[in-house]
């Protein structure tokens, strides 16, 4: 597995769960699923749809386990380093209030930079659906961010 793929998966679960310990466990499991699925596919086929599929499967599994007590984070380092000048509260609210299908689409499309075709193939939906979800998610996120003043879009 490539380091870039691990980083993408780790970021995905960090953005979705906002829990480092849970994100770490989910990332490890998702990478095992990703490897298993890759063995079943054509090696020349694009891997991003498989990554979308794996992350979505494990996300569904862990989202049901959210009530489980989170373990202590096993690493001394932070694991995820946030950029300066950004607040996480709008994102936290966005994840909390929005339909998961919408915020997951925003993560894959705008945070992990997967193209719409790979996302739609991994989820088994049309590209139009993906674009609709992303657009709707960005508007919701912008509405959350703007009154809070977490980030000045005009700047």
């Amino acid at each position: 597995m490539k380091e870039a793929q691990i980083k993408s998966v780790a970021l995905f679960f960090f953005y979705t769960f906002l829990d480092k310990s849970l994100a770490l466990r989910a990332t490890a499991e998702s990478m095992h699923l990703f490897e298993r699925r890759l063995k079943e596919r054509d090696p020349l086929a694009p891997k991003d749809p498989v990554l979308v599929y794996s992350t979505y499967k494990i996300w569904k599994k862990y989202s049901k386990k959210r009530s489980i007590k989170s373990q202590d984070f096993p690493l001394n380092s932070e694991g995820w380093i946030m950029p300066d000048g950004i607040k996480m509260e709008p994102w936290r609210q966005f994840v909390k209030d929005t339909d998961p299908q919408i915020y997951l689409a925003v993560i894959w499309s705008h945070l992990l930079q997967f193209n719409d075709k790979d996302i739609s193939e991994g989820l088994g939906v049309t590209e139009g659906s993906v674009r609709y979800r992303v657009g709707r998610g960005l508007k919701i996120l912008g509405q959350i961010v703007s009154p809070a003043g977490a980030f000045d879009a005009q700047a």
């Binding site: 597995m1 380091e3 691990i6 980083k7 780790a10 970021l11 960090f14 953005y15 770490l24 990332t27 490890a28 499991e29 990478m31 095992h32 096993p74 690493l75 001394n76 380092s77 932070e78 694991g79 995820w80 380093i81 946030m82 950029p83 000048g85 950004i86 709008p90 994102w91 925003v106 705008h110 945070l111 992990l112 930079q113 674009r131 609709y132 992303v134 657009g135 998610g137 960005l138 508007k139 919701i140 996120l141 912008g142 509405q143 961010v145 703007s146 977490a150 980030f151 879009a153």
Partner: protein, 360 residues
């Protein structure tokens, strides 16, 4: 090209594609017009832009190298499970419970499946008859049948002293039929007089287990064939003379003994034949047999199936009784309360008995 006019709703819905630059020129122009005309569309575009800018900043989040290394070195779930499962590390009650469950499953499987296996290899025949294992009980019935034979009026019992005759029937009956059970051997010993007066009988091979198995094999019928036999009773004035001639006749017509005993097995009161004959020679045999005396023939069904071109016969040549002897025999038979000409070959022969046993 005709100019497109988009509603406010359509403009709002197309804003993301407009911002991403995925709209064609006509739609892009229509959306721009909508942006100029509608403040609501402009507000929606502002939200979208803020959201996209926030995401641009958020995606700058980085993952540290230790985290990547940690994930790469994580064991697979199966490896994790195996490493956690240590048999010796389990508590003793858990191990006992596990062993008990395994043993219980094994026993239940054995109990439920093994009878099926035995049944599957059972000896159920195509004819619907189940060939059972030979047991010794039918041999007792042979002795009983032989008892009846011994009580016939023609038996040399008339010449034997009364006390011996009174106590001997059971003992005498055992003489011609060598029973396999050792218990009958001492019974034979105290009756030398009966044995001496009885006609010399060729020794009959006892139905050994091998013979029984052979009989069982024979009873496995072919699907096609003759499932019947002919029972014949020939009355003759002189059985001793007729017996060799009939034997010769059967052999000349291609007959072969079908049971364990020789053709023309001499018994008290007659001779016994159990043989198979080619079907084509049946009529010739019956015609030839008429020379030796009157006979009756009955075709009766039998579970043992013969090949298509072969038929099975049981022939009993019986002494033709004179009026005088029959009167005497009648007196004696009244005393014994047994019908004189009751014994039929089918009842008195080991082959028949075993055959009927097979048929059960």
């Amino acid at each position: 090209m005709r100019k497109r006019n988009l509603s406010e709703f359509m403009c709002i819905e197309m804003l993301y594609d407009y911002k991403s630059g995925k709209l064609d020129a006509l739609r892009q122009q229509a959306v721009e017009e909508g942006l100029q005309n509608s403040p609501r569309v402009r507000e929606e575009l502002r939200k979208l832009s803020i959201g996209m800018t926030y995401c641009e900043k958020l995606k700058m989040t980085t993952v540290t190298e230790p985290l990547v290394d940690y994930i790469m070195t994580q064991p697979k779930p199966t490896e994790k499970a195996i490493s956690k499962f240590k048999w010796n590390g389990l508590p003793q009650p858990v191990r006992w419970a596990f062993e008990a469950v395994v043993v219980a499953i094994a026993i239940s499987l054995f109990v439920t499946q093994m009878p099926e296996l035995f049944r599957g290899s059972g000896k159920k025949e195509d004819s619907g008859f189940v060939v059972k294992k030979f047991d010794l009980k039918p041999m007792d019935s042979k002795i009983d049948v032989a008892k009846t034979v011994a009580k016939q009026p023609e038996t040399p019992k008339e010449a034997a002293p009364a006390p011996v005759a009174g106590s001997a029937p059971t003992q005498a009956s055992t003489t011609p039929v060598p029973a396999p059970a050792p218990t009958t051997a001492p019974v034979q010993a105290p009756v030398p007089s009966v044995v001496a007066t009885a006609p010399v009988v060729s020794p009959i091979p006892a139905p050994t287990p091998a013979a029984v198995a052979k009989t069982e094999e024979k009873t496995k019928p072919a699907k096609k064939g003759n499932a019947y036999l002919y029972r014949m009773v020939l009355r003759s004035d002189n059985v001793d003379q007729v017996t060799p001639s009939v034997t010769q006749l059967i052999k000349s017509l291609g007959g072969e003994k079908a049971g364990e005993v020789e053709l023309g097995w001499r018994r008290k009161g007659g001779s016994y034949y159990h043989f198979s004959l080619p079907k084509a020679n049946n009529q010739a045999f019956q015609d030839a047999l008429k020379k030796f005396g009157q006979f009756s023939i009955v075709k009766s069904p039998h579970p043992r199936v013969m090949p298509e071109d072969t038929e099975r016969f049981i022939l009993w040549i019986e002494e033709n009784k004179s009026a005088k002897s029959s009167a005497a025999s009648k007196t004696e038979s009244d005393e014994n309360a047994q019908p004189a000409d009751e014994p039929t070959p089918s009842e008195a022969t080991p082959e028949e008995t075993s055959g009927e046993t097979d048929a059960q």
